[in-house]
């Protein structure tokens, strides 16, 4: 089926060339990082995780969001989603590649990364993260490819694929729960030490992932002859509406616990994000924007009249995606580290090289997604012809 990926028009190859350009630039900056060290980023002794890990955290949620298509179709026989399960699975693959590359570019000694396999550490959450991320990637690759191939051949997918599909559902939940467990099991980081972190992660994942899928579906409809379907997009829109409500509600719970109890240690990290402390508040405008974006998105998503207007829906999805990205990416990570365990404030903000490397990583994900979607569209167009 790979041949579908090399038969494209000028716009397709132009897009691929653009992505390759971004990848090349990002790679150049990464070579600089390898030579100099992670000092070219904004990382510091206090904020030791930053933009790169933020991308891992966010995109692992986007990857898990693919399961929101799989569950209704395979578990509850919602036939309409049969059209787009492969789109969800391939989005998960591209997202996971962004996740894993984000980790690799974040490592201080990336050439030693195989030590995680050579010296298994069952007490470490990163060990399980490696297992479930790779496992879910493999599952989606095998399932998505075989289902698509069966569609192209006009047959049912082979029977051995079925247990893998069912396995991918708990795996999807696990990738984001394990990633949440990276944070919420650390005794010294009060902002993250909350049972609601994993549920909050899942809620924002099930909002952001399908939101991106909606946007991609609208783009696919525009650039090809394959229409993912109006009903499918509307169902996804309903799903993200509820997920976004849950996400904001969980955040509201966090605010209540911190500020009603009045415990300074709990309040401090949230105060840092939204009003700043000791004169430091570089993230304050970002956090308020993030809240505004998510609330506005919700205002557009709740009334059926706006949700059913696909133009407005697209805007709502973009706002949701960016708002959730700021909240989960920048906000979550920085607030965990500021103030530090000695109650000192040292802020973090990503630097230009750091952003360029991240763009390169996203471009690789976009390239993988483009190729996989081109194949999918090729098959679906041919089948429907």
């Amino acid at each position: 089926m790979l041949e579908y990926a090399i038969k494209g028009d000028k716009k397709y190859y132009g897009w691929i060339a653009f992505l390759l350009g971004l990848i090349g630039v990002g790679f150049g900056f990464y070579l600089w990082q390898l030579k100099f060290g992670l000092g070219i980023t904004g990382l510091s002794r206090d904020v030791s995780w930053g933009f790169y890990i933020a991308q891992l955290t966010y995109m692992v949620g986007v990857a898990a969001g693919g399961v929101m298509v799989v569950i209704p179709y395979y578990l509850h026989d919602y036939k309409a989603f049969g059209r787009i399960t492969v789109l969800g699975e391939f989005l998960a693959i591209a997202s996971l590649i962004v996740c894993m590359l984000s980790v690799v570019v974040d490592l201080g000694q990336p050439m030693r990364v195989l030590n995680v396999i050579l010296h298994p550490s069952p007490r470490s959450m990163l060990f399980y993260d490696m297992i479930v991320l790779n496992g879910y990637l493999l599952l989606n690759l095998v399932v998505g490819w075989n289902v698509l191939q069966a569609e192209r051949n006009g047959t049912h997918y082979p029977m051995w694929v079925t247990p893998l599909i069912y396995l991918s559902i708990p795996f999807a939940i696990s990738i984001h729960t394990v990633t949440a467990f990276l944070y919420c099991g650390l005794p010294g980081r009060g902002f993250w030490l909350t049972a609601i972190l994993a549920p909050r992660f899942l809620a924002s994942a099930f909002a952001a992932g399908p939101a991106l899928l909606i946007l991609l579906s609208l783009i696919i409809r525009r650039v090809s002859n394959f229409d993912p379907g109006r009903e499918q997009i509307q169902t996804l829109a309903k799903i993200i509406t509820y997920a976004l409500i849950a996400n904001l509600f969980f955040f509201g719970c966090e605010i209540f616990v911190a500020f009603y109890s009045g415990i300074p240690e709990h309040m401090d990290h949230i105060k840092y994000l939204f009003v700043g402390i000791h004169g430091h508040g570089v993230l304050v405008p970002w956090m308020w924007s993030s809240m505004a974006l998510m609330v506005l998105a919700l205002i557009l998503l709740i009334p059926p009249i706006t949700r059913q207007n696909e133009g407005v829906l697209a805007v709502a999805c973009i706002m949701l995606f960016i708002g959730a990205w700021i909240d989960k990416g920048l906000g979550l990570i920085s607030a965990g580290f500021v103030p530090n365990p000695l109650h000192e404030v040292n802020e973090y903000f990503p630097t230009f090289p750091e952003v360029m490397i991240t763009i390169g990583v996203y471009a690789i994900g976009a390239l993988v997604l483009t190729i996989l979607y081109k194949i999918t569209i090729g098959v679906k167009e041919e089948v429907r012809a």
Binding site: G37, L38, R45, L107, N115, L126, L186, R189, P341, L342
Partner: protein, 267 residues
């Protein structure tokens, strides 16, 4: 056609097995010793314990002494001094590497300070360092066990294995760990040629002077403190450190977290 393809695969498989057997057998076979086998052991002077600990008597410390203690540790361990003069103030703060340093009471013990406090405690310098916890969250977090707890209680870094993921830094509730965001060598004031430096991309922290304990010497900070710091085996009821702990009221940092820090403070 199928028969000969199957035959070919069978023969190829057996050949691969045969070719793979020889190196396996070689590896498993004994290396043929001549006389005694080479072996490794601890030095005769090496100090041992079940759980090393330190008591810091803050009543005996002043700023000068504290500076002297920090200098002793950082100089023999080739800890880089990434100074503001060289890289600018902001970058110096970000890229800072420190194993032991001075802070105030309300930074060392963020949950303890009262509104009205003893002047002495408010003004005293407090030394903070890795607590070599009994149940270290950093050891639990490390995905390669590059951070590990030795049988003698020291939480040690294996710089050969560290992948620089910095999960241990997130896990440490005391902020004791530093990461080499850049090559430390240009910033080492005077290299101690008997001790390695580190390289960029690995995490480091106090190592309880494991290299000194191995040759019967006390940790450098303890020696430089001239009696303000005492070290010993916390699990030996007859040790000096246990004697001190019986005689004085001591506190530890963030005890409620259950990490079991092995650094005690007399205030």
């Amino acid at each position: 056609m199928e028969d000969s393809r199957r035959r070919f695969l069978k023969i190829a498989g057996i050949a691969a097995l045969g070719m793979g057997a020889a190196p396996v057998i070689d590896a498993v076979a004994a290396s043929g010793g001549h006389g005694a086998e080479p072996h490794m052991r601890k030095g005769a002077d090496a100090l041992s314990a079940k759980q090393w600990g330190i008591v810091i008597d803050t009543t005996k410390l002043d700023h000068e002494k504290v500076e002297h203690i920090i200098e002793a540790c950082h100089s023999i361990h080739n800890v880089p001094d990434i100074s503001a003069e060289k890289v600018g103030e902001k970058v110096a703060k970000r890229h800072e590497v420190k194993w032991i340093w001075e802070t105030h009471f309300h930074n060392a013990f963020p949950n303890l300070p009262s509104k009205y406090m003893s002047e002495a405690v408010e003004e005293s310098p407090f030394l903070v360092l890795c607590n070599h916890c009994e149940d270290p969250p950093c050891v639990q977090a490390c995905p390669t066990q590059a951070t590990f707890k030795r049988p003698d209680g020291i939480v040690l870094m294996d710089f050969h294995r560290c992948i620089g993921c910095r999960f241990c830094m997130a896990a440490c509730p005391y902020g004791s760990r530093s990461f080499n965001l850049r090559d430390p060598r240009p910033f080492i004031k005077e290299t101690n040629l008997a001790f390695p430096t580190r390289t960029k991309g690995v995490v480091e922290k106090c190592n309880f002077c494991a290299e000194r304990l191995a040759v019967g010497q006390p940790p450098a900070c303890v020696e430089a403190s001239e009696g303000a710091m005492i070290f010993g085996d916390l699990e030996d009821p007859h040790s000096d450190i246990r004697e001190v702990l019986r005689e004085h009221y001591t506190i530890r940092r963030k005890v409620a977290l259950g990490t079991g820090p092995a650094v005690y403070y007399i205030i």
